[in-house]
Amino acid sequence: MATVELTFTALPAHVRTARLVATAIARRTGVAEAILDEVRLAVGEACSRAVEAHRLHCPGEPVRIELRDDAGRFEVTVTDAAPGDDVMPQVLEANGSLMPEIDNLGIAVIAGLADDVEVLPGPKGMRIRMSWPASTNGLAAF
């Protein structure tokens, strides 16, 4: 099992970096090219949700993402440290106010994209684990 861990400050600009890292590692793990876009989008949705949760509740805490090559599956876990399970993915305007028309589409999108999804809300934050099939002899094995 090979694991990469990434923590980043809860800023929207860093979500793109997380997407790029996840896509690169998915490719290296042997995830099929045809589903790399799904990985990129699902990881981005989970990270966006976590960033907004942190900005509302604990802006100083970093968001954590683990990327794991686990027995023929590529598994991603995004963990936030925001209390409560009522956080919706939202966009903040330049003045810091919430954009009113954003619905909770993020989790629905993840559920539609990931092969296997587990959403684990908890008092100290939410954990979203998702996985996709990967080649058992992905590049990471060499």
């Binding site: 929207p12 981005g44 903040l92």
Partner: protein, 116 residues
């Protein structure tokens, strides 16, 4: 890639050209542009997404918000998009039934002309 936005008007249709990635970081800029256009009386918008590399749910939310605003003025917000990876997120969320989605700007303009 960052987000590039441009717009121009043809007859009573305002075409918004979007290039790059629409995500939690860049979506507020698109939202500001759509609000500005509506505030200036542009109620028929066509968002050309042919050069969009990435779209997430925050981007979808901005488009839905724009649609709500133009509909309040009996307007329209339609899209040009042929990229499967972008269309997929519209299908997953059921928004293909909400937006008119065209294969080209010309096709959308023709449809808009018929509806006038």
């Amino acid at each position: 890639m960052d987000l590039k936005l441009d717009h121009h008007s043809e007859d009573n249709l305002t075409i918004v050209d979007v290039e790059g990635e629409i995500d939690v970081y860049t979506a507020p800029r698109l939202r500001e542009l759509l609000i500005d256009l509506v505030n200036k009386g542009n109620f028929h918008l066509l968002v050309n997404m042919e050069k969009v590399d990435f779209l997430d749910s925050t981007g979808l939310g901005v488009l839905v918000g724009g649609l709500k605003r133009v509909r309040a003025h009996d307007g329209s917000l339609e899209l040009v998009c042929t990229q499967e990876r972008i269309l997929k997120i519209f299908r997953i969320t059921g928004l293909t039934k909400v937006f008119g989605i065209y294969a080209s700007v010309e096709e959308a303009k023709e449809a808009h002309g018929r509806d006038k």
